[in-house]
């Protein structure tokens, strides 16, 4: 049933028909996934507004392009690999109910930490080269973007650690395995955000 047909229904005409039993309310998506999709919409709104601000501010005459540290390419590769590792964990959770998810999740987590550490190093390199946040808005935006993106990844990492504990608890194991898919989705999304930000930083 499409959203359009739902909101054009005439509810006063169908008293007694329990449409929820076999119709609309047989939900094909978990509450966790719906919540995650809404959360991604919130993050998208935030980064989109940052990007608009970045674009607007970059058209002012005082804007000075900053050097792109080479380590960013390495970091990007790490995040791509982390995303792949979590996708493997997600596939394993769906395919094989008994298989261990420990290794792919551990690899994903470690690669994410490497990415965050790499971003920190990139910032340090820029500061060492004299690109201070207060020196130019281009510098400030770089630190802002990388910092906020890393913060979201660290939040995800914290959630993944909790998930790791739940995977070892008999009563919560099954639900936790389903949640691994959400974890992978979140990582893919943050990879996409980073690719957009990285492209933006490279082009301006």
């Amino acid at each position: 049933m499409s959203f359009l047909s739902k909101v054009t229904a005439k509810p006063w005409e169908h008293a007694g028909e329990m449409e929820g039993l076999h119709g609309e309310l047989v939900i094909t998506r978990s509450a966790g996934r719906t919540g995650l999709l809404m959360f991604l919409a919130v993050i998208s709104s935030m980064f989109l507004l940052f990007i608009i601000s970045y674009y607007t501010r970059s058209r002012f005459p005082d804007w000075e392009v900053l050097a792109d540290p080479g380590i960013l390419w390495f970091n990007t590769a790490m995040l791509i690999l982390a995303s792949i590792a979590l996708q493997i964990a997600s596939n394993t959770a769906r395919r094989d109910a008994g298989a261990s998810l420990r290794n792919p999740m551990l690899v994903g987590g470690v690669l994410t930490l490497v990415f965050v550490a790499g971003q920190w190093m990139a910032c340090e390199q820029l500061v060492a080269a004299g690109f201070y946040a207060r020196g130019n808005p281009a510098n400030a935006f770089f630190y802002l973007f990388t910092g906020l993106h890393a913060l979201h990844l660290l939040g995800g990492l914290w959630f993944m650690i909790l998930l790791g504990f739940r995977l070892n608890q008999p009563g919560r194991k099954e639900k936790a395995r389903q949640t691994v898919t959400l974890c992978a989705t979140y990582w893919h999304y943050l990879l996409l955000v980073w690719l957009v930000l990285f492209t933006l930083l490279l082009r301006t």
């Binding site: 909101v7 008293a15 929820g20 501010r57 207060r134």
Partner: protein, 592 residues
């Protein structure tokens, strides 16, 4: 992988049963307790904002009389008053309070889908309130830059609160947005995923629709405030220049360079205008339900009401720059935003017509909630029409920054939602506590509040047309304002004090009726919606006893021809509806 509705996964809802006093009333994950926590905190901080408004009115009504109100304190009072009222009272109470209480009950769920996150939402909200209030106690006090926090003034030396107040304000806003996001994700997901069987989207009460769409607006619009808050914080603390231009301040060249204050304004109002509807849409929804229940008539044009809520939600994102006509913009932009502002008036007016048409030939019960409904409709029409004036560039230019604007937005954004909140509290208090609020005190509270607020805000329109500018600490001698202006300002101040004192009647009623009010029974208003069909009043943890409700009809079956009673609960199947010669006891259940 396929999932079934939470309604069919009932066993999962018992994971957070409260075991101790602490988990039941403090670290509670029950949506009803969280709603009350949100509401009490919002009302408490709202009372602080009310007190601040009285400080302002003392100064404006009787300048040069109260030496303890300095210009700095005056500006701090107006700033904190505005921010607290808009964000920490109205948004928190309508969504955190009513949203939390009503969504699971009206949708037939046992709780929010993420109860732990819901609990966190309240505690982070409380933290944001404490951080905000702590700015009263730091060196220099809270920020006095006006609630819009416009740069460059907001972080320049000489502005009150530049030492620490502004930082605390911004940190508090960031915390509030985090809290709102945690709560908002819960509200949206619960509406989408945890409705009981039979509760289709178009059988939802309009209160839920209003809260649902307002929450989506909030989830998408609050990031704009977050973005501005973070960048302004960096401008203030690190000396970056996102918004701060190069300028000469107190005889010195500032350390900033090249920033754009106009960019701040665009971002701020991209949040700011949807914020109006984040407050208004839940109020619209609640009014729709109240008018239907107390006029004993189905809401006129239910589908149109839903579509109007959706349309207002979408259009509210493309009207923001009507707050910035005097900031300067391309004339075509001005034309565009004036046009969209007029367009958003169409679905809004449609809702007003439908409320009035619901009243038409209804069996109107002049209960206290109904009084507030009618008061709201009058007030909202007043505030809405002056909004049409201000939405037009040519009319806005001379009226901008005058008391006309103050009168307008207090009518539409202050008095109107507050009347709804009062009406809603009188309506749902019996469900929350099991007791009725005192009727005489309620009527006294209504009439004195209504006339009092009109005595405050109607004259402001006149003062604005005369040219009295807002934000001035004292006007002194001017050629364009005659002596009657000050007399009117003094009258407004007296009315403001009168209205503030009248609220003591309400507060007394709240506390007195909690223990001494008349027992309400399960469904004192004979309403159809699910929250009135709970087995116990107040509803216990889990809301519904062993079985979740099943919904057979929409939320507005009032005065159905042939039915014995003038209402048919949503949970009643067609076969069970007593005909006019049968008897039906009104679904009275156990009362705890």
């Amino acid at each position: 992988m396929s999932y079934v509705a939470i309604a069919d996964r009932d066993h999962e809802q018992h994971l957070h049963d409260p075991q101790t006093f602490i988990t039941k009333y403090i670290w509670s994950q029950d949506h009803k307790v969280i709603a009350i926590q949100y509401s009490l905190t919002a009302i408490a901080v709202g009372l602080i904002a009310l007190a601040l408004s009285l400080v302002m009115r003392l100064q404006l009504g009787f300048p040069d009389t109260f030496s303890f109100i300095t210009p700095e304190e005056y500006y701090q009072a107006i700033t904190m008053h505005g921010m607290i009222m808009v964000i920490y009272l109205l948004t928190a109470l309508l969504l955190g309070g009513f949203g939390n209480y009503l969504i699971p009950l009206m949708c037939g769920a046992r709780d929010m889908v993420f109860p732990f996150m819901n609990m966190l939402s309240y505690w982070v909200y409380l933290l944001s309130v404490l951080v905000l209030c702590s700015s009263f106690f730091v060196t220099g006090g809270p920020t006095g830059a006006g609630w819009t926090l416009y740069p460059p003034q907001v972080i320049l030396p000489g502005t009150p609160g530049v030492d620490g107040g502004i930082v605390l304000m911004l940190v508090s806003l960031v915390l509030f947005i985090i809290a709102f996001t945690m709560g908002g994700l819960n509200y949206v997901t619960t509406v989408l995923q945890a409705r009981c069987r039979g509760m289709t989207l178009m059988r939802m009460p309009l209160s839920v629709w209003g809260i649902f769409v307002a929450t989506i607006l909030g989830l998408l619009a609050f990031p704009a405030l977050l973005v501005t808050g973070i960048m302004l914080l960096l401008d203030s603390v690190l000396g970056t220049s996102f918004f701060m231009p190069a300028l000469l301040s107190m005889g010195e060249i500032s350390e900033h360079e090249g920033g754009s204050p106009i960019l701040f304004q665009h971002l701020f109002w991209f949040f700011g205008h949807p914020e109006v509807y984040i407050v208004a849409l839940p109020a619209f929804g609640v009014i729709s339900d109240l008018v239907s229940v107390h006029a004993r008539k189905n809401i006129f044009g239910y589908r149109m009401m839903v579509w109007a809520i959706l349309a207002i939600g979408v259009i509210s994102f493309i009207v923001w720059a009507h707050h910035m006509y005097v900031s300067g913009m391309n004339p075509y932009f001005g034309f565009f935003f004036a046009t969209t502002t007029l367009i958003i008036a169409i679905p809004t007016a449609l809702k007003v017509y439908n409320w009035v048409l619901t009243l038409w030939r209804g069996d109107i019960h002049m209960t206290v909630p109904m009084l507030f409904v009618i008061g709201f409709i009058f007030t909202f029409i007043n505030g809405g029409i002056t909004g049409l004036f201000l939405g037009n560039v040519a009319v806005d230019m001379p009226l901008s920054d005058t008391y006309f604007v103050i009168g307008h937005f207090h009518m539409v954004m202050g008095v109107s939602p507050i009347l709804v909140i009062f009406g809603a509290i009188y309506h749902w208090y019996p469900k929350i506590t099991g007791r009725m609020l005192n009727d005489t005190l309620g009527r006294t509270h209504f009439w004195l509040t209504l006339f009092g607020t009109y005595a405050i805000y109607l004259p402001m329109h006149y003062l604005g047309i005369q040219g009295l500018p807002r934000r001035y600490y004292a006007m002194g001698e001017t050629e364009f304002l005659d002596a009657s202006t000050q007399a009117m300002n003094a009258g407004i101040s007296i009315a403001a004090f009168f209205v503030a004192v009248v609220q003591l009647i309400f507060l007394f009623n709240l506390f007195w009726s909690r223990t001494r009010g008349k027992p309400s029974g399960n469904n004192p208003w004979k309403a159809t919606t699910l929250e009135w069909q709970t087995p116990q009043t107040p509803p216990v943890h889990g809301n519904w006893g062993p079985e979740l409700p099943v919904v057979y009809r929409w939320a507005y079956d009032y005065s159905v021809p042939g039915a014995a009673q003038d209402y048919i609960p949503q949970t009643m199947s067609p076969a069970d509806v007593p005909k006019s010669d049968d008897s039906y006891d009104g679904g009275e259940g156990e009362h705890s």
